[in-house]
């Protein structure tokens, strides 16, 4: 942890690792019960022997884990999803530290896809080494622009950012449909998407990267954007806890009146935080549009922006926690898909159920166990309030 902002009462690993882990285990136990219930309904006639029946949750967990991490291709698909979730989680976390709830990562990412596509389609005469930074900058600018308007309305007019960012998700969605159907659609086809990007304007996938070293892998979605996501985690960590701008941002988030007292511009911080949040959301488009789809198409964000809320919550709004939470959700996505292949009784909706349970236990019920676990690990002798008062003089 940083020198600034170190929690002083409980060992850090308890609140960072142990408590989320306990919550996670509980979520999976609950999900196991759901699996049992599903099979109960399917095999009420007793065709499934009792021992096998009781084993189904374990089998489901096995398949989920194998599907997520068991093979190199599966692991790489997990990390491809993880990339989106890291960006979305960071976006939500940055806004959250400024006391803002950014529900609009979805729309910001969607709109940023336009920026990425414009660079990749119309600057395709440039070499990759120039296209890459331009596409990243375009993603950031377009994402930030889409966040700027709600931010401005919140800061200056008091329009609630939750409402406006939700509205902007719909506006982004309608705008992109219009652009793809009427303006950017590739000539001579029915599906509303642009032409495919040229090879010099796509993000190298892991398949292409290992090929440079003479190894062979099947076509896989994981691409170099993943490294950019990790870099963004470091950037966000430094920004929030080790710069004066991050200090101002946290002050506004924790105590806006103290910010005014300290001469920090609350309006400025809200706009800055949302623009950074929007830029981070925008990078989802780099992964999806430039890395995986290699064309602009409808609904490429596919809910990743919303998953970011859960990721940030689960990761305790800390970049390093967000990496773990994003891997978890990536594994649920990828493993869940594999699971529903192997156990057709379990549909992809079970994955959504597990996600819901994780969010329930890690977020909503977070304080169910926290006080008890923290009480077990509280440092002694603690710096007590009375101890401080006692010597005060």
């Amino acid at each position: 942890m940083s020198a600034l902002g170190r929690p002083a009462d409980v060992p850090p690993w308890v609140s960072i690792a142990l408590i989320p882990l306990v919550n996670l285990v509980l979520a999976f136990v609950a999900a196991g019960l759901v699996v049992l219930l599903i099979y109960w309904g399917q095999y009420a006639d007793g065709t499934l022997p009792g021992a096998d029946y009781l084993y189904t949750p374990v089998r489901a967990a096995e398949l989920l884990l194998k599907g997520a991490f068991g093979t190199v291709p599966n692991l790489s698909r997990t990390l491809y999803y993880t990339t989106d979730f890291i960006f979305a989680g960071l976006a939500v976390a940055v806004a959250f530290h400024a006391g803002l709830f950014n529900i609009g990562a979805e729309g910001q990412a969607y709109f940023a896809g336009l920026g990425v596509a414009l660079v990749c389609l119309y600057l395709d005469f440039l070499p990759f080494i120039l296209v890459l930074p331009l596409a990243i900058v375009a993603a950031a600018l377009f994402g930030a622009a889409w966040a700027f308007i709600p931010a401005y309305l919140q800061a200056r007019r008091g329009s609630h950012i939750v409402i406006t960012t939700i509205m902007f998700n719909f506006i982004a969605s309608s705008l992109m449909v219009y652009l793809l159907v009427h303006v950017m659609i590739a000539p001579g086809q029915q599906s509303p998407e642009t032409r495919a990007f040229l090879p010099n304007t796509t993000m190298p996938t892991i398949t292409e990267v290992v090929a440079w070293f003479g190894y062979k892998l099947p076509r896989l979605p994981l691409n170099l954007t993943f490294l950019w996501a990790l870099a963004c985690c470091v950037f966000v960590w430094i920004f929030i806890w080790h710069t004066r701008w991050g200090y101002a941002l946290r002050t506004v988030g924790l105590n806006p009146r103290a910010a005014v007292y300290g001469g920090i511009s609350v309006v400025g911080v809200i706009i800055m935080a949302m623009c950074i949040s929007g830029a981070l959301s925008g990078f989802i488009a780099v992964n999806e549009v430039m890395g995986f789809n290699r064309r602009l198409l409808l609904n490429f964000v596919a809910g990743a922006g919303f998953v970011g809320i859960a990721v940030s919550l689960m990761g305790r709004n800390h970049p390093f926690g967000i990496i773990f939470a994003a891997v978890l959700f990536g594994a649920l996505y990828q493993g869940g898909t594999e699971l529903s292949f192997e156990m057709p009784e379990i549909t992809k909706w079970l994955v959504v159920t597990i996600q819901g349970l994780v969010i329930l236990f890690a977020g909503a019920l977070e304080n169910m166990f926290r006080p008890r676990i923290e009480a077990l690990f509280r440092r002694r002798p603690a710096p007590l309030q009375t101890a401080a008062g006692r010597t005060g003089g």
Binding site: A8, R250, V260, G389
Partner: protein, 527 residues
Amino acid sequence: MDKSGVTRVATVGGVPQGAPPAIELRGINKSFGPVRANQDVSLTIAPGTIHGIIGENGAGKSTLMSILYGFYEADSGEILVDGQPKHITSSSDAIAAGIGMVHQHFMLVEPFTVLENVILGAEGGALLAGGKARARAELQRLEREYTLEVPVDAVVGDLPVGLQQRVEILKALYRGADTLILDEPTGVLTPQEADHLFRILAALRAQGKTVILITHKLREIMAITDAVTVMRQGRVVANVATRETSREQLAELMVGRKVLLRVDKTPARPGATLMEVRGLDVVDGQGVRRVKDVSFALRAGEIVGIAGVSGNGQSELLAALAGMVRPAKGDIAVGGTALSSLPHVDARTLRGLGVGHVPEDRHREGLVTAFTAAECSILGHHDDPAYNGAVMTDGRKVLAHCERLMQDYDVRPPNPHLKAANFSGGNQQKIIVGREVERDPKVLLVGQPTRGVDIGAIEAIHRRLVALRDSGKAILLVSVELDEIRSLADRILVMFDGMIVGEVAADGATEQSLGLMMAGVQQEAAE
């Protein structure tokens, strides 16, 4: 433990001798996590007396009373009411046992009338009409008995605080309270209102009621109580009869060492004007004019006190002077620079001009309680190049700065990593005063510097302020504690309803004349 003093004063209240104590607490323990708020507290309160409980902030007075009133449950210990053991786990248990409480922050529904507030929760049926009629008759009887005149049909929000407090007392009496707990009741009152409250309390005592008065003001304890319990660090350190003790002795018992109650200072030698305020108007978010045409000057080497009952525009004035709020009219000049001539004014502008600010509300303005002490020690100066590289903040420099500050201002514990919330009020305030004074401001604005601060820290903070004055700086002191203003300020301005209604030299001010001005009586009439 001097129980003899307590039992002797029991005869004062006109209650038959040999009656069991109104309240007896035996061996009360209460911990919040690792914090032991009450340790083995035993206490006997004789019926028909006014019993003071005094102690510094965090001494455990409020926790003890919350246990008695059923907000908290004690970890161990016994509560006896009129000699009967009682199990009190909620405020309704407490009310049933005949205990009423008047909170520091009133628990009233402001848009309701007095009558509606009084019957709230004791309506006596689904339809209000019957309950109201009964309540009206009962209130009239109570008002007669205790000289508690209150306009029964007035809307509570329109009443002055002194009357609102009486509504709280009536509420408790209406519910049949025999023992009344008052938590810091005079914090919001003018001296005259406080005197009236004490007359009411004396009337209650004469009728055989028992009153428990929680306060940190020694003067009140001496003026009204029969017996007093002193608490320190969660324990009872003394039970004494009031007539057998003195302010000095009580202060020493509270703090655990000898305390200087008076501020040592030489006469002021005012120099050049450092801050000038002309015709200042401040309008709040609701469009209410809070500060009305205020003008004054602050000169080098003087402390100017602003006295007034809380809520008469002092907070808004302070916020405007500190650059946190834009005045609607008028101008402020700092060392010759008129703020109206600047394109943009915020708190940072004022800091740049050499104006320090110790805000009234420590928790909501002066600190970010979730921040560490180190982070709090740079609030307002976080972008100072002294702590920053090109991009990153230098955490070690911030820590070193905080460590030095903690040493210079005797902040305990001297741990810069500790969260601000985990320091006592006095130590939090020392961090803020240190942060602001250390910048060597030309003008220091100070709001309620010792609110919720223990006596030891008060002494240290007052010494710092006087030293700053003596080094030729100007200090504006806003405080609702008349004693503090009178002992610290060289010149006193009295605010009422947003206006400055009078100015007196500190040595010429009597509590009486200040009190009248604080109640809105103009200066000429007051003298």
